[in-house]
């Protein structure tokens, strides 16, 4: 019995098709001469058939049966039927069991897809949260009721100030201004991106609020322009394509 014990675990792996190489060869050799182990292998396969029941799910697709019937019509049966050999009595159960097995596979696929959907939903929730944070930052920057405070050296009278934050590779520009003098009606400030070579590019028209604050977020800009300087001029309300002198504020990139 000790020999069979030694092969007991290998038999289960063999039945499932997981035994490879030398171990497989050794077991097959033993099986050829050991009827007890052959019987145990049959029983283990029986256990595998039981396992198939665990996966039986909803009815398999109708077309699977139709396809099989069509194939059988095309397929002449080569061997003559030897009466008494095959027992066809359980044919309906055969079809049901096999189709149930296939249905089980679909069910499992379905289960795996459901898990994948859950994972994606999870990721999506994370991205939503990030988006929400980004939105909050932008809303704070652009809120009309935001308090904007510019800190300067003590005893310096308030100075008009502008800060441009520009990321060339993303063509992204955020501009924040404070203490801007009010403008006559029908006039507005216009921000200009002055590239290292070429003409100034319009980067947004804006009017300061009552406190002299203004923001420009991501104006439309050509891609990947290297900026040398940002400048502000006073233009008609609808903006200009070419700056009108004089430049009222200017700042060069560091």
């Amino acid at each position: 019995m000790s020999v069979h014990e030694q092969f007991a675990e290998d038999l289960a792996l063999y039945a499932l098709g997981g035994l490879l190489g030398d171990e497989r060869v050794a077991l097959e050799k033993h099986l050829a001469e050991c009827s007890a182990c052959r019987r145990e292998l049959e029983e283990l396969r029986g256990d595998m058939a039981l396992m198939a029941l665990s996966a039986a799910g909803p009815a398999p697709p109708r077309r699977a049966r139709q396809r099989l019937m069509d194939a059988i019509v095309r397929e002449p049966r080569a061997a003559t039927v030897r009466t008494g050999r095959a027992s066809w009595a359980p044919l309906p159960w055969l079809a049901t069991a096999a189709l149930a097995l296939v249905a089980g596979w679909f069910w499992r696929q379905n289960d795996q897809l459901a898990q994948r959907v859950a994972r994606l939903e999870n990721e999506s929730a994370g991205q939503q949260a990030q988006l929400q944070r980004a939105r909050e930052v932008v809303e704070t920057l652009t809120a009309t009721d935001a308090m904007r405070v510019t800190l300067v050296a003590a005893k310096t009278p308030p100075q008009p100030q502008g800060k441009a934050i520009y990321v060339r590779d993303r063509s992204s520009l955020i501009f924040l201004a404070s203490n801007l003098p009010a403008l006559p009606r029908q006039k507005a400030y216009e921000l200009w991106l002055i590239p290292t070579s070429g003409a100034p590019i319009p980067a947004g028209v804006f009017k300061p609020d009552a406190q002299g604050s203004a923001t420009v977020i991501n104006p439309h800009l050509p891609a990947g322009v290297e900026a040398k300087t940002f400048a502000i001029t006073v233009e008609p309300e609808q903006g200009s394509l070419v700056p009108t002198m004089p430049i009222v504020m200017v700042g060069a990139g560091g």
């Binding site: 029941l53 099989l68 096999a98």
Partner: protein, 142 residues
């Protein structure tokens, strides 16, 4: 994703069709000494599906496979009862054992692959797979 499901659905049908056709061409491959026809077919279909999944050639001739199974599942009622018992047995199994058994059975992973995946000793996995199968059988021993 849809394409993937359809691909797999098609593959599962192909396996089934191939097994049925093999039996149709050569009904002598199965006789009652090989056991219950339904159980036999379930085992053959599972093995062929795993062969397909692992992209390897069928290893055993279907005529060589004999299956011995306790419950008679010819009727709907018997089968439903058996199904319930099997699911019950899997449900009460320790999670690690059930998972090892399912990986071996449904995914066709070898004990070596399962051990690599879970980081557990090879011997433990081997034992879990065998004990898992035996636990199913025990459910039907009165």
């Amino acid at each position: 994703m849809t394409l993937r499901v359809l691909g797999d659905t098609g593959a599962a049908e192909d396996v089934l069709q191939e097994v049925f056709l093999q039996l149709w061409r050569n009904p002598g491959a199965f006789d009652s000494s090989r056991g219950n026809l339904g159980a036999w077919l379930a085992v053959i279909a599972r093995n062929r599906a795993i062969d397909g999944l692992r992209k390897r050639r069928p290893e055993t001739d279907i005529a060589d496979v004999a299956v011995s199974v306790e419950p008679d599942m010819a009727g709907d009622a018997e089968r439903a009862r058996a199904m319930e018992k099997v699911r019950g047995a899997l449900g009460t199994m320790p999670a690690a054992q059930r998972s090892a058994l399912e990986m071996a059975y449904f995914e066709g992973l070898t004990h070596i692959e399962i051990a690599a995946k879970t980081g557990e000793p090879l011997g433990t996995i081997k034992t879990r797979i065998r004990t898992g199968l035996l636990a199913l059988r025990k459910t039907f021993v009165a």
